[in-house]
């Protein structure tokens, strides 16, 4: 994307780098975590050098994720505050999926769906971190009664699966909405794209014309 007056800066370099590091860490975590969630996925352990390596590495990927996702949280939390207009936007979710955007309230830099995604990911991440500490057998599990470890194992599995589901949705919406992956890769978007998908942000960036 050319850096000219016809494009708008959507994501800064630190935001983009942070996002893709989180994405990479997510894949490492999901692939190594599925190994001991369900035997069907045990062959994935080969990607990490076997079951024992997957077991050793998974929690350390998690520690990296705490810092990387923490960065995303502090970068995007203010942008992700839900407004009444965002809630109204979410009520039209069915129309949006059908490609009908006629009666849609104007989205800002992030739309209601993106904000909902953000807070869902934050919720899952908090649950995963807390339960992950409890089920980290090498260092922490012995500190907790077995019933707490059992509960944490259930929470960790459910939150992990929900997280994978959310990211699958996130990736699909990125593919479905043309040019949005480019926005996260190169940072800039065409004005027409901004006006189409984020009209309120477009007006804010261009000083109210059009």
């Amino acid at each position: 994307m050319k850096n000219d007056s016809r494009t708008l800066l959507r994501f800064t370099v630190p935001e983009r780098v942070n996002h893709w590091l989180v994405a990479l860490t997510f894949f490492l975590l999901a692939l190594s975590g599925l190994v001991y969630f369900q035997p069907l996925y045990f062959p994935l352990s080969q990607l990490f050098g076997g079951g024992t390596w997957a077991r050793i590495l998974h929690p350390f990927f998690g520690v990296a994720m705490i810092f990387l996702f923490g960065g995303m949280f502090f970068r995007f939390r203010k942008l992700s505050i839900m407004t009444p207009s965002d809630k109204e936007w979410l009520h039209h979710i069915r129309d949006i999926a059908n490609g009908d955007e006629r009666n849609l309230p104007e989205a800002g830099k992030l739309n209601g769906g993106q904000k909902l995604m953000f807070w869902s990911l934050v919720t899952c991440m908090v649950l995963l971190i807390l339960s992950g500490i409890v089920v980290w057998r090498a260092y922490f599990s012995f500190l907790f009664p077995v019933v707490v470890v059992r509960l944490a194992a259930v929470v960790h599995s459910v939150a992990g699966v929900v997280m994978i589901a959310l990211i699958m949705g996130h990736i699909y919406i990125g593919i479905w909405t043309r040019e949005s992956i480019g926005a996260m890769l190169y940072g800039r978007v065409r004005r027409a794209w901004a006006k189409q998908h984020h009209p309120a942000w477009y007006r804010e960036m261009t000083g109210g014309d059009k």
Partner: protein, 293 residues
């Protein structure tokens, strides 16, 4: 870890049949608590046969030594002094793996073949397949498996599966000087235990009974208890052990539901793309910006 076997009923994290061409009789070890004198010969025999050596510990002022099961001590005597209607009683229970018919460790284990159950009922760990996650510890209703700090594998009583495989009794049963530990087919052991219960009742232990808990499908280590109505007084033997709803959910329904849900999302996304097409900038807006140039 035991000998290569042809009589495996179940392997952890495996959905296809296990090598089970040969069927063996169900076995059981009967521990008659009323006959135990707490000599710890069984602990010694266990370490000798399995050639494990625990670190020399410290005296905690009680007879329990070592104080708990470890990766090297697969059985320990637990001593409790209890006030019953008969006065002060010294109850000594040999603790170790119960070899459940429905083992929580095997259910929880994510590593294929790290936990196996033989057709004779013995539940064994095959440590070379163990990944060291400790899920078996989370799944066990009796708090038995211990994770080694040396190699991050779990260890527990094998019921001397290697000895049993060649027709010998477990080392602890072999050595027990009072006959408190006996070994044989489960059927014979139940019959013997019933006789012991009749004897204990005739001696005034009205609540004597067999501990073979149904919640885990019965066990292949069974106790004769003088007070079978209160197993907790035997150093916390659980009244009604079971795999429990949390482990059941975690290693049961959660797995297929999750895989189906994720598959549904993938298929749903594909169908959506094919039917609705991509979400592109509308022609009017494109035109508006074309004109500007």
């Amino acid at each position: 870890m035991a000998l290569q076997s042809l009589d495996i009923t179940r392997r952890s994290a495996t959905s296809t049949p296990s090598p089970g061409q040969r069927q063996t009789q169900k076995v059981a070890k009967l521990i008659d608590v009323s006959k135990c004198i707490g000599c710890k010969a069984c602990q010694v025999a266990c370490m000798e046969w399995n050639d494990t050596r625990d670190a020399i510990g410290t005296n905690h002022g009680v007879y329990d030594n070592p104080a708990d099961l470890t990766e090297n001590s697969w059985t320990v005597m637990r001593y409790s002094e209890v006030e019953t209607e008969r006065g002060l009683e010294w109850l000594i229970r040999k603790d170790g793996c119960m070899h459940c018919a429905e083992p929580g460790c095997l259910t929880a284990c994510p590593a294929p073949g790290a936990v196996v159950q033989y057709s004779n009922g013995i539940v064994d760990f095959h440590e070379e397949n163990c990944i060291g996650c400790g899920y078996c510890i989370t799944g066990c209703p009796f708090n038995i498996p211990r994770l080694s700090k040396k190699d991050s594998k779990v260890y527990k009583c094998t019921l001397c599966s290697d000895r049993v495989a060649v027709g010998l009794e477990p080392a602890c049963a072999k050595t027990c000087p009072t006959g408190a530990i006996v070994f044989g087919t489960k059927e014979d052991m139940i019959r013997h235990a019933e006789e012991r219960v009749v004897d204990l009742k005739s001696r005034g232990y009205d609540r004597a009974g067999i501990y073979d808990p149904r919640g885990v499908g019965g066990t292949h280590v069974i106790y004769v208890l003088q007070h079978a109505d209160k197993p907790e007084i035997y150093s916390g033997l659980p009244m009604d052990p079971s795999i429990g709803p949390l482990v059941g959910l975690w290693k049961g329904a959660a797995k297929p539901v999750a895989s189906l849900a994720l598959a549904a999302i993938g298929v749903g996304a594909f169908v959506h793309y094919v039917t609705k097409g991509p979400n592109e900038v509308s022609e009017e807006i494109e035109k508006e910006f074309e004109d500007e140039k």
